[in-house]
C-alpha cells in the first residue's frame, strides 16, 4: 500500500520523462490520474495504521562499520496524515494546472517535475531513517528549485530559484550537522530508535539540545522561518499552482513535519522547545506585518504562509502538538485554495498588482467566494477550519505573555492583511483593464473541493486529535477562555480592513469637482483611521520590513562581500595550471602526514 502511494508518482515521472513530448497535453492527464490513484492508497493506509501504531519496514542498503543505513518506510498516524495532504493537494493542483498551464511550451516537463516532487515528498514523509529523510529532503529542494525557475528565461525567476536553493541549503547544513551529531552520539539513524533514546533520557545534555537545534535549523530553512525566510516571497516567481503545492501546502510544511517527526527529541529539551516557540512567534508576527505593506497579490499570500508556518512552530514549541499539526492540515487546504483563487484572479486581471485590481467579484463569481472562504479560514473565523487550529495554538501561549502578545498581534495583522487583499481585489470598482473571466472547469473543480475542505476540515478536530494526538485521552481545547479575545481581535482586523480598503476611491487623474470633493472627504476619513490605528501598525510593519532588509539581508550581503574579497585575493594565486594545483595538493598531503607524525 505504501509502495503504491509512494511509487505511483515516480512511475508517472518516468513515463513523462520517456514519452512526455509525444503525449503532449495528455501527459498532464496521465500524471493527474496516477497521482489521484494514490488517494485510495492513503485511505487504505488510514485503516491499516490506526492511532498509536507504528509499522516499520526497512532494508539495509549501506553498511558502515556494522551500522546499517536502511531504505524503507515508517507508517504511523503522522506520516499517513501528511501523505494524505500531499496526495490530495498534489492531485487537485495538477488538475488545476491542466487548465492553468495550457499552451505552455514545457507542459510535459512541468508535470514530470510535479510528479518527481510528489514522489520525493512521499519519500520524505515515510522515511524511517534520517539519512533517507535527508536524501528526499534535498530532492524536494531540487524540485522546488526547478519549479520556481520553471520559466527560466525570465531572469527574475532564475534568480529567485537560485536564491531559494542557496538560502534553504544554509538550513540544510544545520540539519546535516544535526544528523551527524546524532549518528556519532548514538550510532543509529533509525528514527523510532532515536526517539526512544531521547524519550528514555539515554540521550541528554548538550548533545540532545544541540542536535535538536541543528535539526530545527533545517526546518527553519525549509519552512521559511526567521531568519532564513527571505527566499519564500521571491519564490512566487514560479507558476501559481507550484506556489500552492510546494510553497504553501507541502514542502514548506516539511519543516514543521520534521519537528513533529522528531518531537520527542525536542520535548526532552526545554531550551529547544523555547527556541522553536520564539522563532515561530517572531516569524508569525514579522511576516504578517510585511504582508500588510505588500502590493503584489501572490506575495501577500506568501507572507501569510510564512506567518502561518510560524504559528505551527509556535504550537509545537508550546506543547500544543495536535493544534500545531492540525494547523498544518487545515492550512494546506485553505492556503492552496487562496493560491489557486489568486491564480484565477491573476489569470483574469492579467496583473499581480493589488492597486490595479478591484471590483473583480462580479467577473469571478466562484473565485471571489472561494478566496473569501480561504481568507475566513486564515483569519480563524468559525466555523472555517483555521479557527479550530489557530485558536488552540494562541490559547496554549496564554501563560507566556510575550508569546501571547505576539500571537494576538499576529492574528490582528493576519485578518487585516488578508482582507485588505480581498477588498482591494474584489470590492469597489475596477482600477484597471481586466480582460478575462473565470477559468475552465478543470480550474473550477479544485476550487470547489478546496472551498468545501476549508469550510469543513476544521470540524474533524475530534477525529484528528484522537488519531494522532500525543495525549488523545485529554479533550481537544477547541474553546477556551482566550477564544473570545482571539475572535474579537480577528474581527477587529476584518472590520478595519473593510473600513480602510473596501471604499477606496478610484485612482483616476481628473474627476468632476463635486465627486472629487466627496471622494476627498472620504479620504479624510481614511486618514483619520490611518492616523490613529493604521499608522502605528504600518510603522511597525515598515520597521519589520526595514529590519528584514537592512539587518538580515545586510548581514547576509556582508558575508557574501567578505567571501568575494577573499576570492579576489585567492585569484592571484590561481594561475590556472593544473600542475601547480596538484603540486600544492601534494605539499599539503606531505605536510599533513608530517603533522600527524609530530602528533604521534
Amino acid at each position: 500500500m505504501v509502495l503504491a502511494v509512494w511509487l505511483l508518482p515516480l512511475a508517472s515521472f518516468l513515463i513523462l520523462l520517456a514519452a512526455g513530448r509525444r503525449l503532449g497535453h495528455r501527459s498532464g492527464v496521465v500524471s493527474s490520474v496516477l497521482t489521484g490513484l494514490t488517494l485510495p492508497g492513503v485511505v487504505a493506509l488510514l485503516a491499516a495504521a490506526p492511532a498509536g501504531t507504528t509499522r516499520l519496514a526497512a532494508w539495509p542498503w549501506l553498511g558502515i562499520l556494522g551500522h546499517g543505513l536502511s531504505l524503507g518506510w515508517l507508517v504511523d498516524p503522522l506520516s499517513v496524515m501528511m501523505a494524505g495532504v500531499v496526495a490530495l493537494v498534489s492531485t487537485l493542483v495538477q488538475v488545476y494546472s491542466l487548465a492553468y498551464m495550457k499552451g505552455d511550451r514545457d507542459f510535459p516537463v512541468f508535470f514530470a517535475e510535479i510528479s518527481l516532487f510528489t514522489f520525493a515528498m512521499q519519500g520524505l514523509v515515510f522515511a524511517p531513517d534520517l539519512l533517507q529523510l535527508f536524501i528526499f529532503w534535498e530532492l524536494v529542494g531540487l524540485c522546488s528549485y526547478l519549479l520556481i525557475g520553471f520559466w527560466h528565461t525570465r531572469p527574475a525567476a532564475a534568480r529567485a530559484a537560485t536564491k531559494a536553493f542557496v538560502v534553504t541549503r544554509t538550513g540544510d547544513l544545520g540539519l546535516l550537522a544535526g544528523i551527524l551529531l546524532l549518528w556519532s552520539a548514538t550510532g543509529t539513524l533509525n528514527i523510532p530508535r532515536l526517539l526512544a533514546l531521547a524519550g528514555s533520557g539515554a540521550l541528554g545534555g548538550w548533545v540532545l539540545t544541540g542536535s535538536a537545534l541543528l535539526v530545527f535549523a533545517g526546518a527553519v530553512g525549509k519552512s521559511a522561518q526567521f531568519p532564513l525566510h527571505t527566499w519564500l516571497p521571491d519564490a512566487m516567481e514560479g507558476p501559481t499552482p507550484i506556489s500552492a503545492l510546494i510553497h504553501a501546502a507541502t514542502m514548506v510544511a516539511a519543516g514543521v513535519y520534521l519537528v513533529a517527526r522528531m518531537y520527542p527529541l525536542f520535548a526532552a529539551s526545554p531550551t529547544a522547545l523555547e527556541v522553536v516557540a520564539s522563532i515561530g512567534a517572531l516569524t508569525a508576527l514579522l511576516a504578517a506585518g510585511m504582508g500588510l505593506v505588500e502590493n503584489e497579490l501572490k506575495r501577500v499570500v506568501a507572507y501569510s504562509t510564512m506567518s502561518q508556518l510560524g504559528y505551527m512552530m509556535l504550537g509545537l514549541g508550546t506543547g500544543a502538538y495536535t493544534a500545531g499539526l492540525f494547523q498544518l492540515f487545515n492550512h494546506a487546504f485553505f492556503k492552496s485554495l487562496l493560491f489557486l483563487a489568486a491564480g484565477s484572479v491573476i489569470h483574469a486581471a492579467d496583473t499581480h498588482d493589488l492597486r490595479r485590481m478591484g471590483g473583480l467579484a462580479r467577473r469571478l463569481p466562484l473565485s471571489a467566494p472561494a478566496f473569501l472562504a480561504g481568507a475566513l479560514a486564515l483569519g480563524g473565523i468559525p466555523p472555517f477550519s483555521g479557527f479550530f487550529s489557530k485558536d488552540p495554538i494562541i490559547a496554549a501561549t496564554a501563560h507566556q505573555p510575550a508569546l501571547y502578545a505576539a500571537a494576538l498581534a499576529g492574528a490582528l495583522l493576519t485578518s487585516l492583511y488578508i482582507f485588505r487583499a480581498y477588498f482591494l481585489v474584489f470590492a469597489g470598482t475596477p482600477r484597471g483593464e481586466h480582460p478575462g473571466g473565470e477559468g475552465s472547469s478543470a480550474m473550477r473543480g479544485p476550487l470547489w473541493i478546496l472551498t468545501v475542505l476549508s469550510l469543513g476540515s476544521g470540524l474533524a478536530y475530534h477525529f484528528f486529535h484522537r488519531y494522532l494526538g500525543r495525549h488523545p485521552a485529554a479533550p481537544y481545547p477547541v474553546w477556551s477562555g482566550s477564544t473570545w479575545i482571539t475572535l474579537a481581535v480577528s474581527g477587529t482586523g476584518i472590520l478595519l480592513a473593510w473600513l480602510l480598503f473596501a471604499n477606496r476611491p478610484v485612482e483616476r487623474p481628473r474627476l468632476a469637482a463635486p465627486a472629487h470633493r466627496l471622494l476627498a472627504e472620504r479620504f479624510y476619513l481614511d486618514q483619520l483611521y490611518a492616523g490613529t490605528i493604521v499608522r502605528p501598525i504600518l510603522a511597525l510593519s515598515r520597521a519589520a520590513s526595514w529590519l528584514d532588509r537592512r539587518a538580515v539581508d545586510g548581514l547576509v550581503n556582508g558575508l557574501a562581500r567578505m567571501v568575494m574579497s577573499f576570492g579576489r585575493g585567492l585569484r592571484r594565486v590561481e594561475v590556472g595550471r593544473a600542475q601547480s594545483y596538484a603540486l600544492a595538493a601534494f605539499w599539503g598531503l606531505a605536510l599533513f602526514i608530517l603533522l600527524l607524525e609530530g602528533v604521534r
Binding site: 601534494f586 606531505a590 602526514i593 607524525e597
Partner: protein
C-alpha cells in the same frame, strides 16, 4: 625468488625513471611498457596470475598503444625535465623527496610479514566468484562507467561540428 624480485625491481623502477627522464615522448611510452611489465611480474610473483594477465593485456597492451597513438596524433616535441626552472625543481623535487622519505621511514618502522601464505589453487575461479557474488553491484557500475567513458571519449575526440 629474491633474484626475481631484484630483476623486477630493476625493470619497474628503471622503467619509471626512464618515463620521467626520457626527452622524447615516444621513448617515455616504451619505458612505460617496461614498468607495466615489471608490475605484472610482481603480480605473478604474488600468486595473482589473473591480475597479472589483465595488467599485461590492459596496461602493457591497450593503454600503451593508446599512448603511442596520442603521441602520434599530437605534435611531437622534446620534453626534457632538465630545462625547467629551479623553483619548480625545488617545489616538485622537495615534495617528492619529502613524500618518499615519509613513506620509507614508515615502512621501516613496521615489522612486515615475510612468509607468503600458499597461493590458493583456484585463484582465478575465486576471483570470478567474488566478482559475481559480493562485488556484483560495483562490477556492473564499472561496466556502465566504461560505457560512459567510451561514449564520452568518442564525443570528445570527434571533430567539432563534423559529420556524425
Amino acid at each position: 625468488m629474491p633474484e626475481a624480485f631484484g630483476i623486477l625491481t630493476l625493470a619497474t623502477l628503471g622503467g619509471a625513471l626512464g618515463v620521467v627522464l626520457a626527452t622524447d615522448v615516444v621513448h617515455s611510452a616504451y619505458f612505460l611498457v617496461l614498468a607495466f611489465l615489471g608490475v605484472a611480474g610482481y603480480y605473478f610473483l604474488l600468486g595473482g596470475e589473473f591480475v597479472g594477465a589483465v595488467q599485461i593485456l590492459i596496461y602493457a597492451g591497450a593503454v600503451a598503444v593508446l599512448f603511442l597513438f596520442a603521441v602520434m596524433l599530437t605534435r611531437r616535441r622534446a620534453d626534457p625535465v632538465w630545462g625547467r626552472s629551479p623553483a619548480r625543481w625545488l617545489g616538485v623535487g622537495g615534495a617528492a623527496a619529502l613524500l618518499a622519505w615519509l613513506l620509507l621511514t614508515h615502512l621501516e618502522r613496521h615489522p612486515w610479514p615475510t612468509k607468503l601464505p600458499p597461493p590458493a589453487p583456484h585463484n582465478t575461479a575465486l576471483i570470478g566468484k567474488a566478482l559475481f557474488r559480493p562485488f556484483v553491484v560495483p562490477f556492473e557500475v564499472v561496466s556502465v562507467l566504461l560505457l560512459a567513458a567510451l561514449v564520452g571519449a568518442l564525443l570528445l575526440a570527434r571533430k567539432e561540428g563534423g559529420a556524425s
